[in-house]
Symmetry: C2
Amino acid sequence: MATKSTTATKANSEALFPSSKVAHFGEDKPLQLDAGVSLSPFQIAYETHGELNVDKSNAILICHALTGDQYCASEQPVTKKPGWWETLIGPGKPIDTERYFVICSNVLGGCLGTTGPASIDEKTGLPYGLNFPVLTIADMVRAQAMLIDYLGIDTLFSAIGGSMGGMQVLQWASSYPSRLFSAIPMATGAKHTSQNIAFHEVGRQAIMADPNWHGGNYAATNDIPSKGLAVARMTAHITYLSEPTLQRKFGRQLQNRDNVSFGFGADFQIESYLRHQGSSFVDRFDANSYLYMTRAMDYFDLAADNDGKLANAFSGTSTRFCLMSFTSDWLFPTSESRDVVHALNATGASVSFVEIESDKGHDAFLLNEPVMISTVTGFLNSAAEARGI
Amino acid sequence: MATKSTTATKANSEALFPSSKVAHFGEDKPLQLDAGVSLSPFQIAYETHGELNVDKSNAILICHALTGDQYCASEQPVTKKPGWWETLIGPGKPIDTERYFVICSNVLGGCLGTTGPASIDEKTGLPYGLNFPVLTIADMVRAQAMLIDYLGIDTLFSAIGGSMGGMQVLQWASSYPSRLFSAIPMATGAKHTSQNIAFHEVGRQAIMADPNWHGGNYAATNDIPSKGLAVARMTAHITYLSEPTLQRKFGRQLQNRDNVSFGFGADFQIESYLRHQGSSFVDRFDANSYLYMTRAMDYFDLAADNDGKLANAFSGTSTRFCLMSFTSDWLFPTSESRDVVHALNATGASVSFVEIESDKGHDAFLLNEPVMISTVTGFLNSAAEARGI
């Protein structure tokens, strides 16, 4: 059974030959990883928008979420869809590309051009597969810092991201406080909870249960673990939406029929929607990357990395923080943001926090949420004034 | 790869040759199904505890949940574990088997002896597999009513159950109001929500994605879709527990190690726990039954079956109701019970309702919850007095 679609091949080709800009780091610049090994050579695929000013003080790093990519404000080459954060980023928008120099890189371990499990291991001439080292959020951020160096930037004006992107923002603030003027972590937390890990583990088991996964070596075959990856995506997708959103959008409405079929087809609209989410994801994402990204999120625990005290992660910071959570987000509930706010308050940091009323669930940070947009605008304007931009 | 364990074979043997009592219904007593077909012959495997009194007025029907069985108060023959509701049922317990005659049958479509997809279709001499008709909760209840007839009982003193068991209780009250003196639906609702359907659909997709499922005909092979069924169970299991329970029981604690492994093994206790839940489930449950049970729950919508008005499902009822919900149950939140209470109030029914403070999630109804136990005791005592038992 052929399960490798043309688009999936295109996704794989973007992993190896990205459409975006690429920064190469040779054997003289190995990336030290938390797993105790180093990665070398490696590359980072990234996009930029706007111009770096003479002071090099106007750079904003956009950190993408689990299944996001560097195409935050330009067309995604595989799906041909607009950038995933065009509500926020562009000329005249809250993250104004006529004012700021916006950088967005595919994370380490990703599948859109930055080195990851689909990349070729120069030592073997074959794709890494599961020989790729298991990563942490701190590793991703370490790679981003090397990209910032490469671009000749000392200090970021801001780092902004939601979900796994928000974890990266928090890690930036902890690892490189002097290189970060401001930070906007959204819909995130300083750790992955037990329930978060549980959902990720289900997704990984679904992928690894697919015989087309071949122990991670599917690149050597004509298969991809499309069914397992689709199930993983379907599970995760439920957690991105709130129950009220599901009820409002789909409820118990039937899909193109007047009565239930007394069968196992997609009788309900919600079933049809989830199946579509699963199958379209397979066309644009790599199964091994999904394993690595979810694992990095599971491992994230800023308090544990700092002697069990979250405040230690930010001690003495002069970064200005603006956190946002969404009332109906049950994956990263407000309590997780509040823990970060308390830790920042304990260190005397400059922090503002907004819990946004929304019934759109975790994915609200990707949507047109007026309060989120006005909060980003206001916070960045005020920070830009302080920074003299 | 052999995936059929000895215990799984034992489970299959219980489907065909149950250890419990069996009521046979021959071709003269076909079961009319909502799918528009009839099932004949068929059998119901059941257990009883206590004695039916001379008036035949002390019978209580226990309705089990999705993965439950007739062994509510006696050892389960496959797992050798005690009955699943021994906290409530037994001599001197709230459902006192010295006072009441307790009946618990494996639901239609189940895999512990009542006719289901693992049973032999007499027309072909082969297991039904997906040729088994898709069922509804009303079909299950219709079969139970035939069992009650078979046992010579006209009116049940009570029907009691949680989750899918609670759906059956509500269906009993709607289908056979004159045959039901009292009803205790717990942790349930009058419909499956969009999010409920979504989680079930993920489970079904996981099973059907497993190549060992063989389109439902795995009985003809040496395989069982163990990996797919395990993933389905893992997903569902997360929804049975609350986030606080997961955090308290497992948090981010590691499994038999001091540090993360930088691999994809079960580093975290929650991963190990879920994997165990998945693999032990495969040993005791049939994958096709799982498809049929989840589908029946998805189809359940008592309001839709009654011209869109839930109150119509209970009009003129003289059954006494006692509903219970649990504060941390996010699968069947209190709002779902409240909808039923409002509908019952609108028909002038006798109804009491308790929302029980618990952080144990949906599975609370299976656990030692003092308020639940005292509520069942009090309600049954009062109903028994009214019934003259």
